[in-house]
C-alpha cells in the first residue's frame, strides 16, 4: 500500500520507498517478535549498504595513512579522502573544498568555532546570541566561552508553537554581539528557522552566523552560499553516514584568520622547537590522523541520497510528517510539542497520564523505536513546562504503515496506563 500511496500522492518522481528499504540491511529484522519500526532517526539514522560497503572496501583494499606515504595505498587513501571532501563541498554548495573541515560531528564543529574564532573575537562584555530552541551542543560551547571571557550569552525567545520570535531576535543583536549561533532545524521541536532573514539581520550588524545543521541536512537541500551563513555544522551519522565523522563549513576568509584548534601532525607546515608555522585550511584544523574510513563512508552516504534527490526526499518526508502529525495529534490525550508552520522530520508529543519513558518501553515491546526524554534540549523542555517528550523522527525509509503502527502502539500504552 505504501508504495502506491507515495507514488500516487507525489507523482511519477516520488521515492520508491520499498526499494530504498531493501538498501538498509538493519531494517529487515524483528524486535520482540514484531517488525522493526525505526522512528529514532533524529538521534541517528540507519546506514545503507552503499555506506557499509564503501567502508569495508576501504579497509579491505585501500587502507593507509593519508598525506604521508609515497606508496600506492597511501595515494589511494589520500585520493579517497580528498574525494569525500569534494563530495561534501558539492552537497552543501560550498565554493571551495578547503572550506570543508572534517570533525567528529556537529558538536566538535561548534566547539571548534567557539574555541578558535570565539576565543579570538569574543571579549569581556561582548555577547553571543543563540535561540531558546538550541541543542545542548549549541549552548554549552558558548557558555564555556562566555565564562572564560566574561562575555554574555543572550537567548532569543520562541513562541508557544516553538517558532523563533524574529523581532525579539533582531532586537537582541547589539553592538556587543560577536556571534550568532542558531539551529537550522530544532531537534526537539522540528521547527525550521527562517535562516535567510536571520542571517541578513546579523550581517546588517556585521555579526557572523554559525548554523547547527545537524537536523536539516538529512531532510532538505542545503546551499550554504545561498543561505550566506559563515559557518555550517553537521554530523555524518544523522545523514546515513557512520558515527565519528562530521563537517564544519566555514567561509575561507574567516577560516584563514582563525587560530588553530588542536596541535599535532598534519596541521603544520614546519615545526622547530623555536617556532611552528601552520598548514593552510582546511588542514590547519585537522590535527592528527583523521577518520579516513568515516569520511569515505560519509561521502558514500551523501552520494546515495544525492542520487535519490534531496527535493524528492524532502517531499516524501513532508508528506509523511503531515500524515504523522495528523494521526498522532488527533489521538485523545496527546499534546503536540512543537507546532511551527514550518517543520521537518520530527513529531514531538506528550501523552496525558503516561510518562514518555513508559511510552517508549511499551512501544519498544511493539518493535517501535522512538526517543523519549529531554532530547539534549532541557531549556526547550523548561519553556514548555515539561520534563520530557516522546519524539518520533522520520527518514527516507519510513512509511505510512509505520506511522499507523506507532498510533496503534500509543493506543496500547493508553490501555496499559488507563
Amino acid at each position: 500500500m505504501s508504495t502506491a500511496v507515495h507514488r500516487s500522492g507525489l507523482g511519477q518522481a516520488a521515492l520508491d520507498v520499498e526499494r530504498i528499504r531493501r538498501d538498509f540491511p538493519i531494517l529487515d529484522q524483528t524486535i520482540h517478535g514484531k517488525k522493526l519500526v525505526y522512528l529514532d532517526n533524529a538521534a541517528t539514522s540507519q546506514k545503507p549498504r552503499a555506506v557499509i560497503d564503501a567502508m569495508v572496501r576501504y579497509y579491505e583494499h585501500d587502507n593507509a595513512n593519508i598525506h604521508r606515504g609515497v606508496h600506492t595505498l597511501s595515494v589511494r587513501a589520500t585520493e579517497a579522502h580528498d574525494e569525500a571532501r569534494e563530495t561534501v563541498r558539492c552537497f552543501i554548495q560550498a565554493s571551495d573544498a578547503s572550506e570543508i573541515i572534517f570533525t567528529r560531528g556537529a558538536t566538535e564543529a561548534i566547539n571548534l568555532v567557539a574555541a578558535t574564532y570565539g576565543r579570538a573575537n569574543v571579549g569581556a562584555g561582548d555577547e553571543v546570541l543563540i535561540t531558546a530552541m538550541e541543542h545542548h551542543s549549541n549552548i554549552v560551547p558558548w557558555q564555556i566561552l562566555c565564562e572564560e571571557k566574561g562575555a554574555h550569552l543572550r537567548v532569543a525567545p520562541i513562541n508557544n508553537a516553538g517558532e523563533l520570535e524574529l523581532e525579539a531576535f533582531e532586537k537582541l543583536i547589539s553592538p556587543r554581539t560577536r556571534m550568532v549561533a542558531v539551529a537550522h532545524v530544532s531537534n526537539a521541536l522540528g521547527t525550521v528557522n527562517p535562516l535567510r532573514k536571520m542571517i541578513q539581520m546579523a550581517h546588517a550588524h556585521d555579526v557572523p552566523v554559525l548554523v547547527d545543521g545537524a537536523q536539516a541536512v538529512p531532510h532538505m537541500p542545503v546551499d550554504v552560499q545561498a543561505l550566506g551563513c559563515d559557518f555550517y555544522a553537521f554530523s555524518g551519522h544523522k545523514v546515513y553516514g557512520p558515527t565519528g565523522i562530521g563537517v564544519l563549513y566555514g567561509k575561507e576568509e574567516l577560516l584563514a584568520e582563525m587560530p588553530p584548534y588542536q596541535g599535532g601532525g598534519d596541521m603544520i607546515s614546519s615545526v622547530t622547537f623555536a617556532k611552528t608555522t601552520y598548514n593552510v585550511v582546511p588542514y590547519k584544523f585537522e590535527a592528527g590522523t583523521p577518520d579516513i574510513a568515516g569520511a569515505i563512508g560519509l561521502g558514500a552516504a551523501l552520494n546515495y541520497i544525492n542520487d535519490l534527490g534531496m527535493e524528492r526526499i524532502a517531499a516524501h518526508e513532508q508528506d509523511l510528517l503531515a500524515y504523522a502529525t495528523d494521526a498522532v495529534g488527533s489521538l485523545p490525550g496527546v499534546r503536540l510539542i512543537g507546532t511551527a508552520r514550518e517543520r521537518a522530520g520530527v513529531v514531538s508529543f506528550i501523552l496525558e497520564g503516561v510518562h514518555p519513558h513508559d511510552l517508549g518501553t511499551v512501544l519498544d515491546r511493539e518493535g517501535i523505536a522512538i526517543r523519549t526524554g529531554h532530547h539534549c534540549a532541557q531549556p526547550v523542555m523548561d519553556r514548555f513546562g515539561i520534563d520530557a517528550t516522546a519524539r518520533a523522527s522520520l527518514a527516507i525509509y519510513n512509511t505510512r504503515e509505520e506511522i499507523d503502527a506507532l498510533v496503534e502502539g500509543i493506543r496500547v500504552a493508553r490501555e496499559v496506563f488507563a
Binding site: 503516561v354 510518562h355 519513558h357 518501553t361 526524554g373 520534563d387 496499559v416 496506563f417
Partner: protein, 150 residues
Amino acid sequence: MSGDLGELYQEIILEHSKAPRNFRKPETANRQAEGYNPLCGDRCTVYVDLDGDAIKEIGFQGSGCAISRASASMMTQMVKGKSKAEATKLFEQFHNLVTGKAQAVQASDLGKMAVFGGVSKFPARVKCATLAWHTLQSALEDKHETVSTE
C-alpha cells in the same frame, strides 16, 4: 499486555504510580536530598525525619515515569521505622533484584517490592527503579549534592 511488559507494569506498580504514598514533605523532616535521572528527566526529592539512627518519617516529591514513582512510593512505606543500616541493606537487596542478581530468599525479604523483579528484563529502566533509593541513601548520609544516576 504481553508477558515481559505485564511483569514490568504489575497492577500494584501502576496503582502506586497513579496514587503515590507519602508524596509530601513531612513537617518534621531534618534531612533531604535531590535525585535526578538525566536520561529521562526524572526528578525526586526524598525527605527524612531521622531520629538518631531511625527513619521516623519519610516522604518524597518529584516527577517521573511510572517505575520511578512507584518505586519511590513503595520505598517510603518499606523503610519507615527502619534503621539506616536496615535501609541500606534493603537497597542492596532491591538493587540485586532489579539488576537480576537477586536470590529468591532476598526477594522475599523485600516483601511487596519483589514485584520490581520484572525490571531486570528492562536494563534501560533500572535507573528509574533505583533513583529514589539512591536519593534516600544520599539523604541518610547527609550529602548536599544532587544524586545523578548517570
